[in-house]
Amino acid sequence: MIADKVKRIPPSGIRKYFEMTVGMEGIISLGVGEPDFVTPWSIREACIYALEKGYTSYTSNWGLLELRNEISHCIASDYNVRYNPENQIIVTTGVSEASDLAIRAIVNPGDEVIIVEPCYVSYKPCVLLAGGKPVVVPTDLCNDFKVVPERIGEKITPKTKAIILSYPNNPTGAIMGKKDLEGIADIVKDHDLFVISDEVYDKLTYDGTHTCFSSLDGMYDKTILLNGFSKAYAMTGWRIGYAASNLEVIAAMLKIHQYTMLCAPITAQMAAIEALKNCREEMLSMVREYDMRRRLIVKGLNDLGLDCFEPKGAFYSFPSVESTGMTSEVFAEKLLKEQKVAVVPGDVFGDAGEGFIRCAYAVSRREIKEALERIGEFLK
C-alpha cells in the first residue's frame, strides 16, 4: 500500500532514543535540539495581540510583506546581501519546509546532491523523496569538522546538482570561515552547482563571525539561503522560517509552497515581525548565556577525559567517546540506563558521527553541572 520511495527511507534514529526515555523519571537531557528558553515575552505578547485583533486568516503565499521587509532588512544589515522583499523572499513553516522546497525545486530524478555529514537528519530523506541521490561527503575531527573542498571535488559527477551546507553545524558545532567557504565557492563555480545553505544557527556564532554563503563573490545567484526563528529567538514551536534566493528559484519554490502549505501561520508571522523589530537585545543575551554554557560543558567534558572539540557555534558539543572503547550507540544507551543522562549518539547524524555523542548545552548551567557529575560517575 505504501509508496516504495517512502518505504525505502529508514526510520529516524532520533525517534528511537526518544522512545527509550518515555516514562523514565529524573532524566537530565542533553539530547534536545532546541532552546530551553521560552520565547521572549514581547514576541508572545505580539501574537496574543494579533489574535485579539482578529488576525486569523491566510496571508499571501509569500508571507506578510511587512515580515519580508524585516527579513530583507536583517539580511542586508548583517551580511550586506540584498534580497528584494517583493519577489526574492518566501516565508515558510520553518527551515524544515524551506529545505524541502529548495530541494524539490531544483532536483530532477537521478540528480545527485552532496550532503556533508555529520549533519541535521532531514536532508537525506528530503533528497530521496524528491527522487534525487544523496552523495555523502564526510567531515572529521582533524579538520575541525569543516568540509574540505577536495573531498567534495572527488564526489562531483556530471549528475551533481547541488551541495547542502549547514554551518554553524548541528551536531558538531563547527563553523566555516570566509576563507573556508571560498574553497567551496570555487567548486560551485567550476561545476555550475547550487548551494542550499541552511544558516539557522547563524546568530549562535561565538568565536569569529558568521559568513553568509550568498555574500561570497559570485555565489549570490547560486545560493538558496535558508534561515528561521527557531533557534536564535527560541521559537521552535511556532514553525516559522524563510528562504531567499534568485527570482527563478524562489518562483519555483513558491509554486510548491502555494499548493502544499499555502502559507505559514499568520500568528507566527506576526510574532516573527516583533522578533526582528524589537528583540535583538534579548536574542543576544540568550546567545551570551549559551556561550557561557559552552565553556562550562567543554571544560567539564574534557576534564572527564571525553575529548571534546571546541564548538564555535550552534548549541551542541560533540565529544569523542573513543577513549571508553564503546560505540556511540552503546555509550548513549548505557548512559541513559545507568545515570539517566540523555544524549544523542553521533551516528544518527551520519556514519562520520560514529565515535561521538551530541550533548546539547541548551539547558541550564545547573543541569549541565549535574549531567557532568553523572557522566563522571558513569565513567568510573
Binding site: F18, G31, G33, D36, Y120, S122, N170, R295, R365
Partner: protein, 159 residues
C-alpha cells in the same frame, strides 16, 4: 569586568573558579577584578533574594508617596537623608511626577507602619503630605518573577 559583575548580580554565591570557566578569564584575574570592585564600592554587598511571603507574613511593606518642599542649596537631599536614616525605611528615591519622594517601608504590622509614618515622617517640617500604599502581593522583585519560573515544555530528545 561587566561580565563578572553580571554573573555575581545573578548569583552572589558563584565561585571564582566557575566565573573563570564561564568567561575564560583566568581565576586570579577574576579575584583581582572582584577585589577591586569591592574596594571601589562598585560591589556594595552580597545579598539574598528571599520570598518572605512563603513564611507567612513576617513583615508588611508599604510604598509611601511623600510631597516635600525642597530647600535652598540642598534641594531634596537633606530631607531625603533624614528620612533614610530610619531603619524602618528600606529605600528612598526622588521621583518625577505628582509626588517627590518615594519610600519603601517595612514593619511587623500595618499598624506599626501606619504609626511610624504618622509619628516620624509626616510631622517633619518639609513634609507636606503622605499617601501610604500597603503591598499586598509581590509578583516580581529585582528582576525575578516570584511565581515560579517558566519551564520549556520540550520533549526529552529532538533533532
Amino acid at each position: 569586568m561587566k561580565e563578572i559583575l553580571e554573573l555575581l548580580e545573578n548569583d552572589a554565591r558563584i565561585s571564582t573558579g566557575e566565573i573563570a570557566t564561564l568567561t575564560k578569564i583566568p581565576e586570579h584575574k577574576v579575584r583581582e577584578v572582584i577585589a577591586e570592585a569591592e574596594k571601589k564600592g562598585i560591589i556594595m554587598k552580597y545579598k539574598t533574594v528571599i520570598n518572605w511571603d512563603k513564611l507567612e507574613a513576617e513583615h508588611v511593606y508599604a510604598i509611601i508617596e511623600l510631597k516635600v518642599t525642597s530647600e535652598r542649596e540642598v534641594g531634596y537631599d537633606a530631607i531625603a537623608e533624614r528620612i533614610a536614616r530610619f531603619p524602618e525605611v528600606i529605600s528612598v528615591r526622588l521621583v518625577s511626577g505628582d509626588h517627590d519622594l518615594s519610600l519603601l517601608v517595612r514593619g511587623k504590622t500595618m499598624k506599626e507602619v501606619a504609626f511610624f509614618i504618622a509619628e516620624k515622617v509626616a510631622p517633619l517640617d518639609r513634609v507636606q503630605g503622605t499617601v501610604t500604599h500597603f503591598i499586598l502581593k509581590t509578583y516580581k522583585q529585582d528582576g525575578d518573577i516570584l511565581l515560579g519560573k517558566e519551564e520549556s515544555k520540550r520533549l526529552t530528545i529532538t533533532p
